[in-house]
Structures are given as structure tokens and as C-alpha cells.
Symmetry: C2
Subunit: 411 residues, 2 copies
Amino acid sequence: MSLIVQKYGGTSVGSIERIQAVASRVKQATDQGHSLVVVVSAMSGETDRLLGLAKAVQAVPAPRELDVLLSTGEQVTIALLSMALEASGCPARSYTGAQVHMLTDSAHNKARIRDIDAARVRADLDAGRVVVVAGFQGVDEQGNITTLGRGGSDTSAVAMAAALKADECQIYTDVDGVYTTDPRIEPNARKLERITFEEMLEMASLGSKVLQIRAVEFAGKYRVPLRVLSSFEEGAGTLITFEDDTVEDAQIAGIAFARDEAKLTILGVPDQPGIAHRILGPISEANIEVDMIVQNVAPDQRSTDFTFTVHRNDYDRAMAILRETCTGLNAREVLGDPAIVKISLVGVGMRSHAGIASRMFEALAVEGINIRMISTSEIKISVVVDEKYLELGVRALHKAFGLDEPSVTPA
Amino acid sequence: MSLIVQKYGGTSVGSIERIQAVASRVKQATDQGHSLVVVVSAMSGETDRLLGLAKAVQAVPAPRELDVLLSTGEQVTIALLSMALEASGCPARSYTGAQVHMLTDSAHNKARIRDIDAARVRADLDAGRVVVVAGFQGVDEQGNITTLGRGGSDTSAVAMAAALKADECQIYTDVDGVYTTDPRIEPNARKLERITFEEMLEMASLGSKVLQIRAVEFAGKYRVPLRVLSSFEEGAGTLITFEDDTVEDAQIAGIAFARDEAKLTILGVPDQPGIAHRILGPISEANIEVDMIVQNVAPDQRSTDFTFTVHRNDYDRAMAILRETCTGLNAREVLGDPAIVKISLVGVGMRSHAGIASRMFEALAVEGINIRMISTSEIKISVVVDEKYLELGVRALHKAFGLDEPSVTPA
């Protein structure tokens, strides 16, 4: 007898048949006595179709009007899913973002949720209805329709779960959970039964695109238990928990990686206060996102070497800016490499376990993989290596840390 | 410097190109200094597409959810038209039915407008923006999305014009105005520059499907000057005016007709109070709409003959019911004819001009057309004739009343 928020993405509601499949999955949960709120995305392909119409009319569509247009995508889904539920004898009622008072700021196309008035939803649940809510969309204080940006439906679901103090927020996707690493690279990758929020955040930000990172942050902030599971297969998926809930002794949750990185280095920079800002200021002004940053004393002990990574698409622009900075700072030289990748070991266990880093470096050394850059945080160690070593590096680490063997006792 | 409400139907916004054509027509009006509110329908075909999706999910779609679904059609159009206006340098803002507070009752799929809060629209107009409003849709007091039923966009436009006290409400269609009769039957049919509301109501209810009849009633009630014109051609269209505005001496505005009528007669009914109800009660209980009703004393002076018309589709059912009634009432006989049509002369002028009826009957007699039934109202004379005489009768009357010659001095 729990209150569950379920979220289904575009692929899960991509056709009439799939919407009907979602309806029977929802009905199954209500038959078990649960109260259900279902958050849905637009049918797959619909958002792109609408975007195409918009661009045919206006090269850069007016942001306010684009939101009016795109929000019809989820509105179609909520109506059809509610009909499918009613057709299967399951009373249901749909709500747009505006109707459910999903209050956001006024940043069209990338709005952020501020508040939800869940009173109407609660009344429907009390009356025994399934509530079907349009994800991805909200309304600002003036009543304008807003959207949260791509993937925002995850955040809508978590926000609903937080507002309703739901027992669990279930995100249905086309994968059946969170894996120790990408199974396309390491066939022995293992599905995790649990992962902590902090680990999930690191995994997500490093390219394991299972959940939208803002949704994970939101769930962590409001302590919403989150579960990732497949809408096409049965299974319990992966539960994202708060650290104190876990009773595991695993040191490492998984291995994340980011392709398409590029590395830039400026050598022999005068070692003065404010130098990092003088180097990175022009880069960020050009809207280039910087990921890893490493600064080392240069061999001459009086100047410094400064290295950072950017997305490969930004490499040429970043290099041009850095060359100008080099001249301005009277630095020695600028170097770059657009063919590197980042591999990261993620796990809350490394806080309390020593020697993780040296085991990682050893495992890479055994395979002859040269480490070009290192950066660490509380629950993550990232290394930059040549692009060609990506697969080999991921597999070597997966084996070295025993990730193919279950380390959590099944509940 | 007028405030104008323009309404464009589905064909007028049926493609990106047509939406852009509407945008330039709107911009032209704003360039002339007018303030514009534009009410639009769904792009042609879209409502049927959505209806198809609904029926694939639920044989009889839940009315509330059907409205959520169908209302996305106009929402797409308002966004695209607003973008097209912005792209042409014309500031614009879109509103859904809910956003413009088009308050209706809760009769989903056929809601009626109760009130509009035009404050936000006025603020936008004052700020120099074109306001683009979704037709056909509203919101009930609980915030549920409603729709007005097919053709409801005309009513939305008139309601907006009434709420804003607009100078004119212009309904753009695929015809260039209201004609004296159907040009497909009488090639000399002439476009009217003006027609009164009462005449328009009679013309519309008799099958001249230019305007939705509820929209005309609404406009008459709130005294909104209404104009019908073409979105594909230039021209002033037809203005629908209040009688006192007109300075014409025309007796007849036009000739309307209704095909597919059927006639039923019950002969020798005892002439008692309540007899009409005993005959028509069972018919209306079967949801059959009755049009003309004529009752005459029978030749024996002690009983009565009773005749009425129904739509041809209802003929067989009505006949079966009437046979039962005949037995119950001990009436003499039941007769029927499923191959008749109704031709009507419409014009406020017949109030003050005598001899219209006899001129009408004479014109038909000259052509050898036998009149089977006659019914009159203040501004209309209708006759029922055999189906085969439809075209001949319309042409004869068109000529007899000189409708091919302009009778109003152009303004």
C-alpha cells in the first residue's frame, strides 16, 4: 500500500501498443493496492517533429512560443495513457504541467522547478484514481507555459515524488538498471542492485546517461528513493539510496568514462596569484566548458604548467584563445591533444579504504597504459589516457576491482 | 485604428506556407495601425489525426481526456503562428483557452462559453503585441480543459470580440462571403455586401454552412459586427449587421435550401387537445429531430391531418414509430415521402412588404413545381417540393426576386 511515482520516457510510450503496455503495468501496481502517479514524456519522435515545424517557421524559434509548441507532445501522451487506463477499467485523470501547478522560473526551454501544489493530485489519489502527469513542462508565475529542457521529465517525476512524499520514484527506461560500467565495452559489467546518490551523480556526470543529473540532485536533496528499471523487461532495477541505508562493503560502485575529450596545456606560466583566472577566464567567456584542471610547478621551480580538458568539439576554439593568452602572459608554450579520454573509478568506499588509487594506477600500468593526467575527488579518481586505451583501461579496472562479482547481498 | 478580431480556420492554417500567409495578412493590418487578436483552429487534418489516435486506444474515448488531446491541435497552431509573426518582425504572444480564461461549462466535447477575462489580452494589445488565441477550447471552473465541438473556433472568436468590445470580428474561410444562394446551383448567385443577423441565422440553419450558427447567435446577442471573408483572396467579404444599420430596400437576402429531407403524414387523427404531443413525443424520445410541422383540418371537418419533416436518415425509424402511433390513436392512415427538399426565401424585408409569398408561389407554379408543404416565419417562407425540383426551384426564385442584381449601394 505505497504511493509510487512512475516515470516513462519517450521510447516507453512511443506507440499505441506501448502506451497500452504501460497502462497494464500501471494497472498491475494498482491491483496490488498501490497508489500511482505516472509521469510521461512525449511519444518518441514527437518532440523532434514539433521542433522541425518550429524551425521551418522561425530559424531560432521564440523561446516562449517554442515551449507552447513542445508542451503539446506530453499533453498528447497523458490523454492517450489516461484513455488506455480507463479502457482497462482503471480510473485515471490527466494533468498538464500548468494544471498540476508545476511552478517554475521563467527561463523558457530550460526552466527550473520551484514548487508543486499537490492538493489536486492527492484528492484524485484519495478517490482511487491514477494521476497521469505531463513531464518536462511547467508554468511560471504569470501562467506562461515553460519546459525544463531535454530529459526534464525525470526531474518532473522526482519533483512530484518529493511534493507527495512518495515511497518511491521509479524511472522506467530502455535499460534495466545502472551497471558497473558500459556493457558494450565490458561484457562482464554487472547490474547494481543499489548505488548511492553521490556515486550515481558521479556516474551520471561522467557519461552513464541513465538518469538526468538534475533529477538525481533533486532526489538527493529531497531524499526521494529513486529506482531505475526497464519498461520492457521485468526486474527490480537499481535502487539509488542514501549512504547510511547501504550495508555493503563495496569500495567501488563502477567505472565511468567520457569519450571525446581534449587536453590543452600552457607551459611556463609565471607563478603568480590570479594566474588560473587569467588563463580560464577567456575560455569560459567563450562559453567553453572546462572539465578537469591540473596545475603543477614547472621544472624550473619558478613558473608553473597548467593543463585542462574540454569537449573535443571546443578544442580548436579553446586552442586559439589559449595561444593569445600565452602571448599576453609571456608564457613559454602551448600544447594540446584532441584524442584523449577520461576514465573514472567511482565509489563511496574509497573514502574509508586506502590504496585504491595505487591499485588503479598499477592495473593500468600492467596493461602498458600511460596516464596523462590525474584528478581526484572524495569518491572518484579520474585519469586521462590516450583515446586508444579506453576499452582496455575500462576492462582492466573492472577486473582489478572485482566488479563482475556481486558484492551486495541480494535483499 | 480599430481593434479587430480575426479568425482563421483549419484550411487557412493547413501548412507552414499558409501559416506564413496568415502572418503577412495580420502584419498588413497592424501596419495599418490596427490592434489585432487572431483566433485559430488546428491545422487541417490534425483533429482527425488525434481522434484516430484516441479511438485506437479507447473505442469511445473518455470525454475529459479527449478534450486534453484535441486541444493540442490549436496549441500547435498558436505557437507556430506567433513564431511566424515574430519572424516577420511583428511582436506576438500566444494563449491557450485556459491561459485566456475562456471559461466554459463542464460539458466536455461540446462546452459552452460563459465568460472571458480579457485583462491579459488587453495588456498585450496595449504593449503593441498581436495576441494569438487558440480557438475551439476553454477551461471549466475546476481548471479542466474543455472543447466547444466542431466549428467552435468561430464562437471563440466572437466571444473574444464581445469581451474586448472589438470593432469587428472577421471570420476568414475558404469562401469569399455569403451568397444569395449556392453558386454551384445558380451561377448568377451574387455575393452579399451585407446581411442582417436574423437573415444570416436563417441562411445558416438552412444549410448555408459558412458560419457556425452558435457563433452567429452569440454575435447577435452581444452585438458584435461580424464579417465573413476569404483567406485566399482579397475582398471585403460580407458584413453581418444589425437591422437598423442597413439602408437597403432589399426584400429578400437569399435563398437557402436543405436537401435530404423526408416528409411523414398521419391522416384522420381525432382533433383533440394534446394530439400534437402524442404524435411527436415518441419521435423526439427516439432522438429524431423534427423540422417543419404542419397541421390542417381534414376534409371530414372532425379529424385532422398532421405532417412533419425529418432528416432522410431518420425516415425509416420515424415511419415505424408513426405506424405504432397511428394504431394507438385510431387514426386513418400513415403516408410518407423520403424524396423531398426544402427551399426557403429569407429576408427581413418581407416583414414590411406584402405579396412576397404569392410572388414566390407564382414563380414556382410557372415552372410547374408542385408545392407539397408550406411554412412561414417572420423573415422566411419555406416550401417543401419534390427532390427533382431543387435546382429548378432555386433558380426560378433567384430570378423572380432579382437577386442577381445588386440591391445595396456599395459603401
